[in-house]
Symmetry: C2
Subunit: 211 residues, 2 copies
Amino acid sequence: MTIKLYCMGESGNAYKAALALELAGLDWAPVHVDFFGGETRTPEFRKINVMGEVPVMIDGDLTLTQSGVMQMHITEKTGKFGGKDAAEAREVLRWMFWDNHKLSSPAGMTRFLMNFLAADKRPAEVIAFQQGRLKAAYQTLDMHLEGRDWIVGDGLTNADMSCCSYLFYPEPFGFDRKDWSNIDRWLSHIEAVPGWKHPYDLMPGSPADRA
Amino acid sequence: MTIKLYCMGESGNAYKAALALELAGLDWAPVHVDFFGGETRTPEFRKINVMGEVPVMIDGDLTLTQSGVMQMHITEKTGKFGGKDAAEAREVLRWMFWDNHKLSSPAGMTRFLMNFLAADKRPAEVIAFQQGRLKAAYQTLDMHLEGRDWIVGDGLTNADMSCCSYLFYPEPFGFDRKDWSNIDRWLSHIEAVPGWKHPYDLMPGSPADRA
């Protein structure tokens, strides 16, 4: 049965699950959610996910929310992307938690504030503050990637697909991969994985639709 | 062998691991980290944890970072707090990710800005913005706890110990449990668990030390 992923191209969190589905070779299809029209905050959507967020994954009888849970579910189904032993599995999970806390959370927010809010509603002090936090996160990731091709072990894992998600987007939010040589090299490795797709090519919905 | 937890009482993220260790009945001891003196950002500390964060757990040969990874390690060791079947385990993990992303991340930051920065350095616009995000998180959690005693299933899990962590602190950051009746009731259930301790009673270090 085809796995459904409620998502939109603009969501880096949805991308984490979509990329894992795609690269695992699973049978899946995206269902576009009209986030910008307020769909995720409707009572109907809250019945599917009380958190009022995408992505949501429907796999047969299972309804999953939180991209990290979906990534681990894909690992359970396919044996892929979870690390090759218990030590790697812990390390993968470690970077997934770190990403949710320190990287994707401020990156998604800052990109939203700088690009998807009306120009006269963008809170300058908040944006500057979040960019400072993000810079500390880029430093941590770049330091970790020194001498490494992948975040954990010698191949692509959920840690990479979690941490990379917002870093592929073209909209400005204070990240330029040319400033971070190890991150830049690592992103190139991910892009070179057979079957890799950019978020706007993998899921429906992009700023171009609203232009 | 005694498990060591590098921590300080002020850290809600450290509390998640400390509370799980304590309530699981494991042999553990805190090691105080001088966060306010800058210890977590030193090169020496970065060698233990490149992320420059507490908590860090040393269990024999294992060094773990990220509270969520520690909580899952304690579950593996003891069979406790992880949910009673695969469906509950996914649900526990779901709320742990949500907490890291949407609750603990802004709560810890806002509490820091409002209480641990010099009064003339507190960024008012950032604080107001973060309090708005937090309010949305309290709403989600309160809605989920309607008619429930625990976040998942019928007893204490890592989901509760993750989401509750910053909500027990006395310093103001825009949370008053009296405003959220379901959260308030749920926090009372956690406080009533035999062996429960407040963060400042469980770990060394509190604002009183620096007064």
